[in-house]
Subunit: 205 residues, 2 copies
Amino acid sequence: MKRSRSGRRPGNPDTRESILAAARNLFAERGFDAATMRAIGAEAEVDPALVHHYFGTKEKLFIAAMQFPVDPQQLVAEVTAGGRDEAGARLVRTFLSIWDSPVGAIGASLLRSAVSNEWTLKLLREFLTTQILRRVLAELQLDPAQAQLRASLVVSQIGGLAFARYILKLEPIASLPSEQLVGMIAPNVQRYLTGELDTSGSAAA
Amino acid sequence: MKRSRSGRRPGNPDTRESILAAARNLFAERGFDAATMRAIGAEAEVDPALVHHYFGTKEKLFIAAMQFPVDPQQLVAEVTAGGRDEAGARLVRTFLSIWDSPVGAIGASLLRSAVSNEWTLKLLREFLTTQILRRVLAELQLDPAQAQLRASLVVSQIGGLAFARYILKLEPIASLPSEQLVGMIAPNVQRYLTGELDTSGSAAA
């Protein structure tokens, strides 16, 4: 099944696509941690060595499988560079700078297809959890007992910001300059990251 | 085109459906305020008096057209009953009580179809703006200069909560008892409603 190659991309495009499809299946079904490179090779019916050869690490394979437009590692570095106290503002700013850029359209279409497709949703949740949130939590050294909770609260605000600004296009949030949004939204994200959280469930009113 | 009737619903079901379809079209195209009952009747090719006869007010027609599972007026009353200072907690609680109930599934399917369909999205935005937000803002007597901004920020949090809990099903936010979520999320919603908002865009970091 070998084809002649003209580009600089190594390997057979069919093989590459088979591996990507197999990776999407196994990441969605088993999760990132349990889906081994060996199992992905087997599912794609190629030698596991080829999986490594084409994609390097499992992380890089996941990024390629998601067609994720930016390197999560670089994104995490930007968010955490100022330490815990700046993380709220940096998170909102980094997020808006990606979505306001040309690659933001990829984010919107990913969000759209995730909402209407259970399988894409599983993949997105797995990607968000293992490739982004897990790293942000480790970098910021949050109390592990509350880290997952704080991360999911942050997603509730950032996901809703994406929905209101880019999908629902609700004014004025849809057209405000991003720095104004950072000023208004960052304190709420910062509270989710490092503020007091009343988890007792005994709120008044 | 008259059919025999057996139920207690007045009028011809074809006529009812024509009016509902016409209403959806005009509310999406012209907006709620500009779409008159007369224009909706004309679009449906029925006497405007029939539109009033079947649906009463334009508000009730909009609720029927959206198949909205609860009465927005009652919803707004619940949220604003405790005045401005309790509105954050009441808003999160009311919202969760609806979504956690059997009718919540209708909300999820409305959100799903809005995200993938521009026309449904327009209708949802128009409904949210004219039937819910406008009333909440009036009841709470927020400064009109900032009212729309505050409302859109609230939507960014509440919409994101729906996304994280019911669609993405991100843990632990997906399974926490609603009163715990109220305790954690209400202060952020309250800040959007009545807190200081830095709109200068000169946030540090």
